[in-house]
Symmetry: C2
Subunit: 344 residues, 2 copies
């Protein structure tokens, strides 16, 4: 079943996952396509962004954002087209960056919706390199990490939506970029295409040794988006006055309990102390929304100059979003994960 | 045996402590008073500062500073007088802020020695409110914690050299100051004399509940100098975008192994992430030496205006330094711990 102009398909949260999401987590339902009232418009989803933060919204653990309600439509950033419009400034056929969620159609009053015009170049990029993940990489790396020329920047998920930009921006700023990725193919891509100085396969038996060998002068900035075993290998390599922009902890998102002891939380604080490390958690639009104009200008210029490359992992069909999301959490994507919900 | 002008008493590191230092850790020895060569001066210790960081120098675990060698004299900040001088700018009788260590006499070429003149007011204050601990409080609180008027600042060891200044400076900046201290007498002092809004006895059975009750709007800045149980009680109260200047972890300094599990280090990072918390370790003279002039001017003014109060815990006699140091690590001091090594 593909997108139609008669029903609205949507993925609703059927139950909160314990551990990894499974077949019982989300349910595909259909209902009528809603009619826009005065001051509303109807949007049709073309691209749906899948991002690790969505795992958090499936849980009701206290977090920075409200969880999705049971029976509610999964939230998510989308690139969509205007189908009907009673909103000034939006015409039928316009492309928009919106927050439709995991469904074919959504109503909007225009709040937080960006009009991309009638004929944008590479519209789906607004979900990645030119959107939230790009800003996350840019602001986290430059405003918290602040890498100096010659310093070493390490980032995991190095071919992903955020990690790939962290490494490339680090290079633009004159730093050494060392990536971590899943498997040889991605590592080769990070070095050969994205220009990382090195990229280590996180599945290698001697992963920690390889990481150390490729950071001979230690690590000055660790852009944290994974946690777990990668962080464990990074920690002893951190230099004095290292900075850790703390953006995500994907390795932990499906964890159901804390790992067995001993409790190393005190030792972790002790390391931050003796090495004078700065750790700063951030949620990009809460903390760095004001950086968007600067980011946008820089990123557009860098793309034009060929300094920034971008790769999407496109999956066709809204019905495939749940399994694609699992792939994302496990690092089986190769590039920014985007669901192509419909033809243009 | 008191200070003489014939021998030099010194406390040397006899063996590295496992857990808390004990009688076998330090040994009192005597040797000849050294003669200053050309370009040197002889300094006589009047006051010796005891500070928690010294526990770290007794260990050879990797840290930000070299450990004291076995057989070496324990290091430490001192207020001393010039006995003989072959150094330009220093005359016999001058008071100096120096780094003689735990001994009666030391040679110096003037490097890192501050001349305090012939007749300083309250010379020992250079070891506390006007010196390293004061700068630690000032720079950590203002440059990392950056409290805004109306925000809540929490600090432990609230009557100690650093904590007492953190709370008072927080008040000067318009924030709410909540202290934590050992026992009712110190808590009363923190509130009645130092002007904290509240001070919780860390030995109270319902310590965590009391802390929560006294931080009704959560915690915006936690000045971390203790770790352990206090940090555990603070963590759930931290607000979004809280700041943690990480200055010390005295509760852990005598620990011989990590506590039993589960391993909460990942959960800790997760809290930093979802609450967008900034944690920053610092070593005051490494990171904030440049703040000294600003600190000094502000602090002098505040003392004159009666906005800053200061209390010393004076212990007489160099031979009592080892037991006083244990008292300091256990929080049995009441005010800045200073050994009065000699009469002026």
């Amino acid at each position: 079943m593909t997108q139609s102009n008669t029903v609205n398909r949507k993925l609703i949260l059927a139950q909160r996952p314990v551990g990894a999401p499974d077949d019982a987590t989300l349910r595909l339902e259909t209902d009528a396509i809603p009619e826009p009232a005065e001051g509303q418009m109807l949007l049709r989803t073309v691209y749906l962004s899948l991002d690790p933060y969505m795992r958090g919204r499936m849980s009701d653990a206290k977090s920075y954002a409200e969880p999705v309600a049971i029976g509610g439509t999964m939230i998510g950033g989308t690139v969509a087209r205007v189908v009907k419009s009673n909103v000034k400034g939006f015409e039928v056929g316009d492309w928009v960056l919106s927050f439709n969620g995991w469904q074919d159609y959504a109503l909007s009053d225009g709040t937080m919706v960006t009009n991309m015009g009638k004929n944008p170049e590479a519209p789906s990029w607004a979900l990645g390199v030119l959107g939230m993940p790009g800003l996350t990489a840019y602001a986290g790396l430059l405003k918290i990490g602040d890498p100096k020329p010659g310093e070493t920047v390490v980032v995991a998920a190095a071919t992903g939506a955020v990690g790939s930009q962290v490494g490339q921006i680090a290079k633009i700023k004159g730093a050494r970029a060392v990536g971590i990725a899943s498997g040889a193919e991605k590592c080769a891509y990070a070095v050969d295409e994205l220009g990382f100085d090195a990229c280590i396969d996180r599945f290698a038996d001697d992963f920690a040794e390889q990481l150390a060998a490729n950071c001979p002068a230690g690590i000055d900035v660790y852009f944290e988006n994974v946690g777990g075993a990668v962080f464990k290998a990074v920690l002893p390599l951190l230099n004095a006055n290292a900075r850790i922009p703390l953006c995500g902890l994907i390795a932990m998102y499906n964890a159901t309990q804390a790992p067995e002891g001993p409790d190393m939380s005190g030792a972790l604080m002790s390391t931050f102390l003796v090495k004078k490390i700065k750790v700063q958690g951030f949620i990009v639009f809460d903390d760095f929304g004001h950086v968007y104009p600067e980011f946008s200008a820089d990123m557009m210029a860098w793309i034009k100059e060929g300094k920034i490359k971008y790769r999407e992992h496109l999956v066709e069909g809204l019905e495939n979003a749940p399994s694609a999301f699992l792939d994302l959490l496990e690092g089986r994507n190769f590039g920014k994960m985007v669901i192509k919900v419909a033809e243009h």
